[in-house]
């Protein structure tokens, strides 16, 4: 479980996160949604310690992560898997080497064991015939999947995904969503996903945090989000034509 208390983060004079308080449960797929520029990435990076919060606390299973220094955070960080919005693959390494990287760093596995383990996750993210390619030789969607494979290969206890399925076709996007949910349940980990994809919200939105200009505007789950009267949320949810049609149909009934 990850708890966030009164988290504030700004750059220069601009305050991006304006005092967020919420919590993300273990064994659930927690979603952070919001418009582009609402601060989702900054929120995730502040939770990870990549940005030092201006004030507020971040607790990982009761441990106050934000008060620790880098060395003390290390034990927790080794248990974090992160999928960056831009994939952030190591471009001097092949796909397989990228995925094996956390194993190489944090386990005593032999090369063959690592390769086996890597291939298990490669299968799970539906990545065939790319093991020996460099990140620059595969498509953006494949890079995303490599990033996901790298994030889950060492069985993380906390999984962060910054728009894991942007740039993927609808089918693969669903596969990835389901995979993330499966892993979350299977290993009972705390998963936090940034997204503005309403399909993901419908599929795996067990807890949803809605950010609006750095404020936490709404919290709930996937059934509540389609029923809420909160105007900001409905504006966001029903901005897509598909959902407008769904709502019309609902109202007509």
């Amino acid at each position: 479980m990850i708890e966030v208390r009164e988290l504030r983060k700004g750059f220069g004079d601009v305050e991006v996160l304006k005092g967020l308080t919420t919590s993300f449960d273990k064994g659930k797929t927690n979603l952070i949604i919001g418009q582009s520029g609402s601060g989702k990435t900054v929120f995730i990076k502040s939770m990870l310690g990549l940005f030092r919060p201006d004030s507020g606390k971040i607790l990982y299973d009761g441990i106050c992560y934000s008060d620790l220094d880098f060395e003390e955070q290390r034990a927790i960080r080794e248990k974090i898997g992160m999928v960056f919005q831009g994939s952030a693959l190591f471009d001097s390494m092949t796909v397989e080497e990228n995925i094996m990287f956390p194993l190489q760093m944090f386990t005593k596995m032999k090369k063959t064991e690592m390769r086996e383990r890597a291939n298990v996750v490669i299968d799970r993210v539906n990545l065939e015939n790319a093991n020996h390619k460099l990140p620059s030789e595969i498509s953006g969607g494949m890079q995303k999947r490599v990033a996901i494979a790298r994030a889950i290969v060492n069985n993380p206890r906390y999984l962060f995904c910054d728009e894991p399925n942007s740039g993927l076709d609808p089918h693969t996007a669903t596969v990835i969503d389901n995979l993330i949910q499966e892993i979350t349940k299977e290993f009972n980990i705390t998963t936090i996903i940034n997204t503005h994809d309403m399909n993901s919200v419908m599929e795996i939105g067990e807890k949803i945090v809605f950010l609006k200009e750095g404020n936490l505007a709404w919290e709930g789950d996937k059934t509540q989000i389609f029923r809420t009267d909160n105007e900001e949320v409905t504006n966001f949810v029903y901005s897509s034509n598909l959902f407008k049609m769904v709502r019309k149909a609902q109202n007509a009934q």
Binding site: L50, F70, Q73, R74, E78, M82, F84, F90, M105, F106
Partner: protein, 245 residues
């Protein structure tokens, strides 16, 4: 003020590079890769430049020795002194600031802008140690490159002087051995060693702390080249003052 701030940050970076080391096995592979990129990869250009500049030094000396009282041995002597004292250690280091330096800045800078450094840090890896330490270790082999450059520089001078008909082989070799001060070699390698450290760390600094996108990576490489060569020149001045005078 910002310069002072940056200098402080540079020294903090160096300190950070040596603490919280990465797993030995991983580090060893990285060091070999850097030796390949930074040292082996530079040999060709270094050999080429040293040989020809050595030749030019000899020809220039010969052509400017119009006064018959000055012995032809001076060609060998002057070539040796200029190649060993300044040309190989200093001039080549400035060329390396362009070659190795901009490679280091752009590769680390690209990792910064594409969040690869963040990816390392999320996992709890000391990214400075992971990225910069292997480069510093690899650059410890840089004095060997300079030794090769000295040899080829003098060889180039010999060939240009003797086969160009400016002097005889005997005269050149006599000049080469004339008034030889072994300490000059030590002096050259002491400064080479310091330059190798500058060549690894200053470009790393500019890459690691850069912000922005691809355009800024290019700018950072240029800035890094300027600062690395300025530092080499300044350090060269002080070392020479301290060790030779």
């Amino acid at each position: 003020m910002t310069y002072l701030h940056d200098i402080g940050k540079y020294f903090l970076m160096i300190k950070e590079t040596f603490v919280k080391p990465t797993k030995g096995k991983v580090l060893r592979v990285l060091i070999f890769k850097e030796i390949d990129d930074l040292i082996i990869g530079s040999l060709g250009i270094v050999a080429f430049i040293s040989f020809f500049v050595g030749g030019v030094v000899a020809i220039q000396t010969a052509l400017n020795l119009t006064n018959p009282i000055i012995p032809k041995e001076l060609i060998g002597f002057a070539s040796r002194q200029s190649v060993i004292l300044e040309f190989a250690p200093t001039f080549l280091s400035i060329i390396m600031a362009g070659k190795v330096g901009s490679f280091i800045t752009s590769s680390i800078g690209t990792m910064r802008v594409t969040e690869q450094i963040d990816a390392l840090e999320v996992m709890g890896i000391n990214s400075l140690n992971y990225l910069v330490f292997p480069k510093i270790v690899a650059m410890c082999f840089y004095p060997f490159v300079i030794a090769i450059a000295m040899f080829l520089g003098i060889l180039g001078a010999y060939i240009a002087a003797v086969y160009g008909g400016f002097t005889t082989a005997d005269q050149f070799l006599t000049g080469l051995k004339d008034d030889f001060i072994p300490f000059h070699i030590s002096y050259a390698f002491i400064k080479t060693f310091i330059f190798s450290f500058l060549l690894a760390t200053i470009p790393s600094f500019h890459g690691f702390y850069m912000r922005g996108g691809a355009l800024e990576v290019g700018k950072a490489s240029t800035t890094s080249f300027v600062w690395t060569s300025v530092s080499i020149i300044v350090v060269n001045y002080f070392i020479t003052q301290m060790l030779l005078s």
